[in-house]
Amino acid sequence: MSPQNSDNHVLQAQGLCKDFPRKGQAPTQALIDVSLAVQAGMITGLVGSDGAGKTTLLRLAAGLLLPTRGQIRVLNLDCAHQSIEIQSRVGYMPQQFGLYQDLTVQENLDLFADLQGVPKNIRPQRYARLLEMTDLAPFTGRRAGKLSGGMKQKLGLACALIKSPQMLLLDEPTVGVDPVSRRDLWDIVAQLVSEDGIGVLIATSYLDEADRCHRLVVLQNGKVLAQGNPEEFHEKVRGRVYRFTPNRPEEIRLLQATLAARNDVLDAAIRSGRVRCVINSVSASELLPKTDFKQIESCEPNFEDAFMALAPHPRVEFLPDQTNEKPQVAQDIVVKARNLKKTFGDFTAVSGINFDVQRGRIFGLLGPNGAGKTTTFRMLCGLTSVSDGEISVAGHNLRRSRARARADLGYMAQAFSLYRQLSVHSNLEFYGRSYGLHGKRLEQRIDWALDEFELRERRNLPAGDLPGGFKQRLAMATAMLHEPAILFLDEPTSGADPLARREFWLRINGFAQQGVTVIVTTHFMEEAEYCDHLMIMSHGTDLAQGTPDAIRQLARTPDTPDPTIEDAFIALAEGRTMNLSGKAS
């Protein structure tokens, strides 16, 4: 290894600015006066919501972009002028790592070894180490296009590591990856740092990953909001983090909504069957009457608590309508699937799953990319034909009367599917009409949507120009216009920042309280806590079904007395549960 500069920095940025020109408008300022340092032998996490500037910063470091102002140096080389030297000493993994899908694992490794000029004689041992680290040794002959999402990311990492880089730049390497592979990826990175002493800069929007970093930089709207060790962040909220246990497990969402509406509460989230709060005031016990919850305890802060307290976020007033007497918790089954199957040629996307969803419940479909969630979902909405099995939605048999069933469904697609050039109001009008609303009724519903989703101020803005969170609101508003009995949400929070996700779940919660049945897919395991009932999918089968509490119990061991849904998923995927085949009831 070549000598590092004295203070052991592998990356230094000073007053770094990056503007992207826009036609006929002021340039977008992606980074504004960013100064930070990354040290060797450490993992530095770059945390922030979408559009915070994380990717831009990494690309500047890799020499893929030129700074507008300021300086960025990697390994004491100037990124603007010495990019070739940097590129032969740094491993960079873009968000969507460009593996050649038609090439095998080995051929991809060979290509990057050739491009990085790895000498022939050291290749065998290098390959052996990387393949062992990534568990890809049995798959060297498989084409990259046929690997699972997690394996692809591991191969991408192996390619970035092919020349023992002195620094590693990783851009959200774990997005859409199953929890097992996510843990593996972090283990590999940690191993590299401790064994080879390299410096790592890793961008992430998963707040729970931040606690695995040695140092954290919080970016917001292109500016550094805060930086420090995880402990320093924890200190900021120490003594202000509490857990509330609800009187009954079913009341947890009500408790969360009640807490979230309080002025003194900076953040309220459901975690492992309890509501985790960051509060402003000193005495937590005075927040709510004692009868509203069973137990309160103080807890050790984590980075997420600090982040939520740090980020200024709009308060969401979304208390469920108390005047409505308890909605019909009747045993009304609204969606019923029996032995549901879907095959594409000889590929089985979904192999015989069964489930029921009751009225007014939130049903979550969980699983990594490629687990069969989206296919199941499309069958439920009547967007894809069913290969075998029975399915009924709101009393309609989807194999026979798809069109009529659709009138009772609201659907929010994964990608933003509204007309970008049309204004918020026109989008609402169009979707309202296409669901058969007109005249006074249409007007009423649009008024309702503008108020309910707080879109009135932006009603004349083109949908494409809305800030991220508002796009999501508009998409949900269009799905709710015709007052559907069932709301289908496909990865609604994918790509949304943690604040928008909180707000989003509060709204969903509110609709469920009003008796709307919600079916939602997500790859964020922690969001499962907001559901009444879960189905965890993997490779087209259901690994487990049940309430979040029941699922968590599957992973309870003496070592992990208080497991999360993610722990449960990993245990299920590795076959470590006490009762793998049996569905939790």
Partner: protein, 376 residues
């Protein structure tokens, strides 16, 4: 390791990757090797610029030996499939309905006039919607009448009418086979497709799949990236060219009167210009869909319409002729036609080759300028 060694290692890595991608991706093989054959057959057998068995009506009420002789000329001709009517009105209606392409009006009193004055006009009416076809049909009709006159003269019968003797001979394509003309032009089209469309697509695909970003952050140099794309698609394009030439020579018996090495050399020049254009497109746009649109609009269609491979450039407006000079395919079609049908005629070949060289150089320079290892 030496600079040279790592250069070769990177280039080899890129070439091997491209080779594996090509052999595993059926679409590029299809486009490069199967499509030339399909186009060859399509143009060789399906498209013919020589109409035969043209439907015409012959208007006649007489049946004298002179008229019968004349009618027989049409019946025996491979070009005509006549049917008979008795009035010009009837024939006109058939033309209007599109049932016949024209009619030959042998007026009442034809024989009488012929005997009396030695002059008997025959009226030929042709549907002129397709001007080229109309001219051909009129020419064929004139040819048939001429044959009849010669025959009469040979038999010593009176057949004089005043006027010029028309003696035409078609040069270079004596049998007037349109495929002799089409096949050499087709090579230009096939190489445009491989050079421009395929290249533009494969690079745009690398952008879309994110592989470009991954290889840009390696210590790869730009000229290596360029060579890594030029070499494989040059080879693929020349293979397509060889297939078309072989098909032309042995399936359609097109003569090759010039030298093959000159054809190979000048095809290479043209292919490099096409590759340069494809690379320039892909340096400018990063989406496969847009790249394909531009390649077709700015590469394929001009090569089709303005190269002279199908449509005569001499008859187009002056401005279009000027514009056609900036299209590489136009120069290559001139080269290809000359080498196949005329021979090594330097006065045509060298200026065209010089034009191609300049274009290839300019396009590659533009690519080198536009291409950057940065994402901006």
């Amino acid at each position: 390791m030496t600079m040279n060694g790592s250069f070769l290692m990177r280039l080899r890595g890129l070439l091997r990757k491209e080779y594996l991608q090509i052999i595993r991706d059926p679409s590029s093989i299809l486009l490069a090797l199967v499509m030339p054959l399909i186009m060859l057959f399509l143009f060789g057998y399906g498209v013919s610029l020589n109409p035969t068995r043209i439907q015409v009506a012959i208007v006649t009420t007489e049946s004298s030996p002179a008229v019968n002789d004349l009618v027989a000329r049409f019946e025996l001709s491979p070009y005509f499939a006549p049917l008979f009517v008795t009035s010009a009105n009837e024939a006109q209606k058939l033309v209007s309905n599109g049932e016949v392409d024209g009619f030959i009006n042998i007026r009442d009193g034809f024989t009488r006039d012929l005997v009396k004055t030695g002059q008997a006009p025959v009226q030929v009416i042709v549907n002129g919607i397709d001007a080229n076809r109309a001219r051909l049909i009129a020419g064929y009709a004139r040819g048939a009448i001429e044959k009849w006159r010669e025959l009469r003269r040979a038999r010593g019968e009176q057949a004089a009418y005043a006027g010029v003797q028309i003696a035409s001979r078609i040069r270079f394509n004596e049998s007037n086979e349109s495929r002799f003309f089409l096949v050499p032009g087709l090579i230009a089209l096939i190489m445009t497709l491989i050079g421009t469309l395929l290249t533009a697509l494969v690079i745009a695909r690398e952008w879309e799949r994110g592989t470009m970003e991954a290889i840009l952050v390696t210590p790869l140099r730009l000229h290596e990236l360029l060579l890594g794309k030029l070499i494989p698609y040059y080879i693929l394009g020349m293979l397509g060219m060889l297939i078309s030439v072989a098909g032309g020579l042995w399936i359609f018996n097109v003569p090759l009167r010039g030298s093959f090495s000159l054809l190979f050399l000048m095809s290479s020049l043209f292919l490099i210009a096409s590759l340069g254009f494809g690379l320039a497109i892909s340096a400018a746009v990063r989406a496969q869909f847009v790249a394909a649109q531009i390649a077709i609009l700015a590469g394929f269609l001009p090569a089709f319409f303005l190269s002279g491979m199908l449509f005569d450039l001499e008859s187009t407006p002056r401005v279009i002729q000027w514009v056609s000079h900036i299209i590489p395919a136009r120069h290559f079609v001139a080269i290809s036609h000359t080498l196949f049908l005329a021979g090594n005629i330097t006065s045509v070949l060298w200026p065209a080759a010089a034009a191609l060289t300049v274009m290839a150089a300019v396009l590659l320079l533009i690519v080198r300028r536009k291409l950057s290892k940065r994402l901006e």
